[in-house]
């Protein structure tokens, strides 16, 4: 058993017998999982000229991501606090096998985490979009990653619909108009009270040329540089997250 920052009550190591018993109980708590096609990585040249690799994250990277997300939970601006807090819980649940069919994509620039998106499969045909957290701001990283998430659901996971709600009214309104999303008010989204909106296969392919970008395959050497995720200077990151706003008059 590896101990991480978050095993606060570490205690004594377990005996093999204890471990076996816990495994049986543990197995009952773990949800069955659908097979999920991997997300083929892609490279996006940002406005700054920097290249962002969008790739699937693994559960081994969750602890690193949690350390980066944790301070963002206290940022009372643009709904960063609630998005970070919920994402923290979702990624932890994914690592500890307490959520079914979750996936996580990351945007990485030279090893540095630019943003995170996640979601899960409700069943083979229906997806549930969770969150989009942008750490590198001012370069439309959030828009790129949200589009990558939709791409994953429809093109690689082969789904018909993605159910979506937003915490931020502005984000909600932008997506509503940009894609545009349709009402799906008979579905209860997992993120709480608001009724769901939906992106269908048809609307996705209509918006694709306009909203989904990136180049595949990613050159080996570039892809290699997207591991491991480097922790940014958190203080610098927080100032940047707070200062840069992407709206125009």
């Amino acid at each position: 058993m590896t101990r991480t920052l978050f095993d606060w009550d570490a205690g004594e190591p377990l005996t093999p017998e204890e471990e076996r018993m816990i495994d049986e109980l543990e197995a009952k708590l773990r949800p069955p999982a659908l097979p999920m096609a991997p997300y083929p990585p892609k490279a996006i040249t940002l406005a700054s000229g920097e290249v962002m690799v969008v790739r699937q994250a693994s559960t081994d990277e969750v602890d690193t991501m949690l350390r980066i997300i944790e301070p963002v939970m206290w940022l009372k601006r643009d709904f960063f606090d609630i998005v970070a807090a919920r994402l923290f819980g979702e990624l932890l649940a994914w690592k500890l096998h307490r959520v079914r069919n979750e996936y996580c994509l990351v945007g990485v620039v030279d090893g540095e985490l630019a943003g995170i998106v996640n979601g899960r499969l409700v069943d083979e045909k229906h997806g549930m979009s969770y969150h989009t957290l942008t750490l590198k701001r001012g370069l439309r990283v959030g828009a790129h990653l949200f589009a990558s998430k939709m791409e994953h659901h429809i093109e690689f996971l082969g789904q018909d619909e993605v159910w979506i709600v937003a915490e931020s009214p502005i984000g909600h309104r932008r997506w509503m108009i940009e894609y545009p999303l349709e009402e799906k008010f008979d579905v209860q989204h997992e993120l709480g009270g608001a009724p769901s909106w939906v992106l269908t296969r048809e609307t996705y392919f209509k918006a694709k040329e306009r909203l989904v970008s990136g180049t595949r395959p990613v050159p080996e050497e570039l892809l290699a540089r997207s591991w491991p995720i480097r922790e940014p200077d958190l203080r610098v990151m927080l100032v940047q997250v707070e200062d840069l706003l992407e709206s125009r008059i």
Partner: protein, 91 residues
């Protein structure tokens, strides 16, 4: 473009203005009669605007300035699908 919008013709010098002013820009007159904006014109410039204020549900709207044959210019919504500078347009 605009449906029932009026320009103003100065009763003193017959100069047509749109929008209206308190003094006629040509002679300083203050008496005007309304003249409906109508007829054809030439598109001077246009834009598709994606940054819209509140209350707009569209992704964008198309706006343009038309030089009307009746002798004024007007700014408004364009209904044509493929605007281009110099194209003919109905008011």
């Amino acid at each position: 473009m605009a449906g029932t919008v009026d320009a103003a013709r100065c009763r003193a010098c017959a100069r047509l203005t749109y929008p209206t002013h308190y003094y006629c820009p040509a002679c300083g007159g203050r008496e005007f009669e309304p003249v409906p904006i109508e007829g054809e014109g030439t598109l001077l410039t246009w834009t598709r605007v994606h940054a819209l204020p509140l209350d707009y549900e569209q992704r964008y709207i198309t706006l343009g300035i038309v030089e009307l044959d009746m002798g004024i210019r007007a700014t408004g919504r364009l209904e044509m699908g493929d605007p281009a500078i110099g194209r003919r347009e109905r008011a």
